[in-house]
Structure formats: C-alpha cells, structure tokens
C-alpha cells in the first residue's frame, strides 16, 4: 500500500532527532517490544503480517503515533484478527477465558530469540537474473503489503547479488502463503531515483524479489 509508512524521499520532517540518543527511554518501550516478541511465539502471524498491520492505519494516525504505539496498536489488531483476543476483552481489559498456556516460558523465549525466523527457502525454479543484469522495477500500487517502495518503482538498476529464494511478503503478509521467490540486491544510481541534486557517484541498494523486476 502507498501508506504513510513509505517514507523514503519525503520532506518536512526536519533534522534527524536526538542523534546523541541521550534520553533514557521509558520502560513501556521495552514491554511493548517484549509483548510483541512473546506473542509472536503463538505462530498465528508472521513478520510480514506484523508489518502489514503496522502500516494499515490512517496516515494521520501513523504519523501521530510514536514507534511502539504503532507496534501495540498493530499487535492488538493482529490478536483479534487471529482469535487470540476479542474486542470485548481489549475494551474491558478482562480475560473472558483464562485457560490458555503460553507457547514459551523464559527458556523457550531465549531459544526462540536465538533461533529467529530465517526466510530463505529452497525452490525448484532457477533465478531469472544474474549478477550484472540490467533490470527495471515494476510500477504497481497495490492496496496490500509490498516491499517495493514508491521511490524505486519503474526504475532501472543492476543486479548486485542473489540471495536465493525468500518468503514473499506481498502474499505472506495476507496469509496467502509464503510463495518464496528469488531475492536480489539491486543497485540504482542515486541520480536515476532523485535527479541531478543527488551526487553523481552515489548509489542506492534495495533487496527486491523477482516479482518486482523485469529485464531491461
């Protein structure tokens, strides 16, 4: 979706804030992060669905909420969407049913963090592109989740690296299957993306799935 999350190239946000990062952060940041990680162990959604849920907000809301507020807002909606919570429980704060068993305890959480969630998959189809190939990205504006940002649509670049096949976010985010596809790092001249104000030497790299690319 062309949402407020697709920030690359936007103006108007001012200088990068708090570059010395000196402020201690409030404890609820940690707890929001930990709740998000701990509930993921239920396996009812995936990282792409999490991102999709965080993006699926009115743009004014996205830009008004702070970072972890977006996480919590998305988490609540994901838990309702996947039947772990009801709207009524969220409203009241009272569990209607207390008979669940958490999927991970302290030790399980430690293992899950160390295991992570690799997204590389074996596929039978060979990659369509090789390192050095010239490609052009598609120019689509899907209503659903995608990882091809607006600034890089319809642009020409060169394949820099092939990463094997990875889970495809555009389907996985909507529980429509992993549909793994070949993933490439593509290099774009900064001037192609941004015009002559960019430095002539500079380049921009994105990791892009084969479905985002065609030969140029």
């Amino acid at each position: 979706m062309n949402g407020a999350h697709d920030l690359g190239g936007m103006h108007g946000f001012g200088p990068v804030p708090d570059k010395d990062d000196a402020h201690p952060h409030p404890e609820w940041y940690d707890r929001a992060m930990a709740l998000t990680v701990a509930t993921a162990a239920w396996g009812r959604w995936n990282i792409d669905a999490s991102r999709r849920a965080r993006e699926a907000m009115h743009p004014a809301k996205y830009l008004t909420l702070t970072y972890y507020e977006r996480w919590i807002d998305a988490l609540e909606r994901l838990m309702v969407e996947t039947d772990l919570l009801t709207e009524e429980e969220l409203r009241s704060g009272e569990p209607a049913d207390g008979s669940f068993t958490p999927p991970v305890d302290a030790e399980g959480a430690r293992s899950a963090l160390r295991r992570g969630g690799p997204t590389e998959r074996k596929v039978d189809t060979p990659p369509r592109f090789r390192v050095g190939d010239r490609i052009r990205t598609i120019n689509r504006h899907p209503a659903g989740h995608t990882r091809l940002p607006r600034y890089a649509r319809g642009q020409g670049g060169i394949v820099l690296r092939h990463h094997g096949a990875h889970v495809f976010p555009d389907t996985n985010a909507h529980f429509q299957g992993e549909q793994p596809g070949h993933l490439y790092t593509v290099q774009f001249p900064a001037r192609a993306l941004w015009g002559p104000d960019a430095a002539a030497k500079d380049t921009v790299m994105l990791d892009l799935w084969e479905a985002y690319l065609h030969a140029d």
Partner: protein
Amino acid sequence: MSHEHGNDTPHREHSHVPPDPALRVQALESLLTRKGLVDPGALETIIDTYANRVGPRNGARVVARSWANPDYRQWLLDDATAAIAHLGYEGRQGEHMVALENTDSVHNLVVCTLCSCYPWTVLGIPPGWYKSEAYRARAVREPRAVLEEFGVRLDDEVEVRLWDSTAEIRYLVIPQRPAGTHGWTEEALATLVTRDSMVGTGLALTPEQAGDAP
C-alpha cells in the same frame, strides 16, 4: 463525526492520541498474562536479552576481529551470517547478514525506509533516530546531508552506498580501522567501534577520541 466540524474533518478521530501509551501497554500485558497468552518470565527474558546481552558490543567484537584478522574479515565479507554466528551472535533479526566494507572510496550507510529493519543480533534494538521519520525519509534521498548532521563529512570523491533494508537481509557496516592502532588487541580495538559507525552514520573513534591507549 461531529457536525460541528462540518464535512471535511472525518480524519479528526484518527488524530486522537491515547493519553498514556504506558497505561495501554500495562493493560495489555495484564490481560495477556492473566489469559495465559504470555508467560511473565518470557517477557523478562526478552527484556533482559536486549537490555543486557545483545547490543552494539556484539557488533564491535565482530568488527574488531575483522580488523585484527584478515582471514576472519574475508569470511565476514563472504558469509557474514556464518562468520558472525561463529562469535555466538545469531537469531532474531540477524538471520541473513551481509557485511559492508567502508574504504577510502566507498562509504556505506544503512536505512529502512518502510519500517525500521535493523541487525538486532549485532546492534541490539535500534536507537530512536534510526526509527525516526526524518532519518527514514531523508537518508535515502540526501545521505550526505544526513551524514553532515551526524558530523561525518565525506570527500566528494567518496561514493556513498545507501542500503535500504527492504527484505530480511540485515546489514552491518565495517568502518575503516583508525590510524594509530597497529598492534592493538581485539578487545582494545572493539572500544573504538561505535554503534553509529556500524550503521554508517559515524566513523570508528580514533585513539585520541576514545581517550585511552590500550
């Protein structure tokens, strides 16, 4: 929608900011633990992991070794995931690692314009500025201006390579080894490696900046 606001204010409601997100998180945590959806010990483990165990010191150790050991450096450039796992750093948000080598002619800078992807296993939880709208919006369009804000002035001859983390590949920048560190131990070298230098918004500290010789 309120009639008072008339007919072009349907988004008013969306601008409502919950008065206290801390209370919202507290209420959710209470609900989830009482319902048995989350184990309190699991939460403490996760918080402790990123507060005390996983952070930029991990990445600094990787970089220091790559400075001290040419074979390790080559391994890191060839297969960062394995080379980093060799030092014990692996897992969530570090499943597929790529190391980027800064040189006299190339400076690498990492951003995630679409969310805030970041290599947790080696750098921990991202700092606020990395997650800020300003950094996400600007780094990709005007990396040199952003670098100047961070106090990094690059020669025009240097190519800036900007990496937008749009997939599950996570990037670790290997800053250039500062002069005057010949013969330093890995432990001493690691003290020169800042978090920002591994994102690309900073350089490694010089011995003078670090303030103490090994």
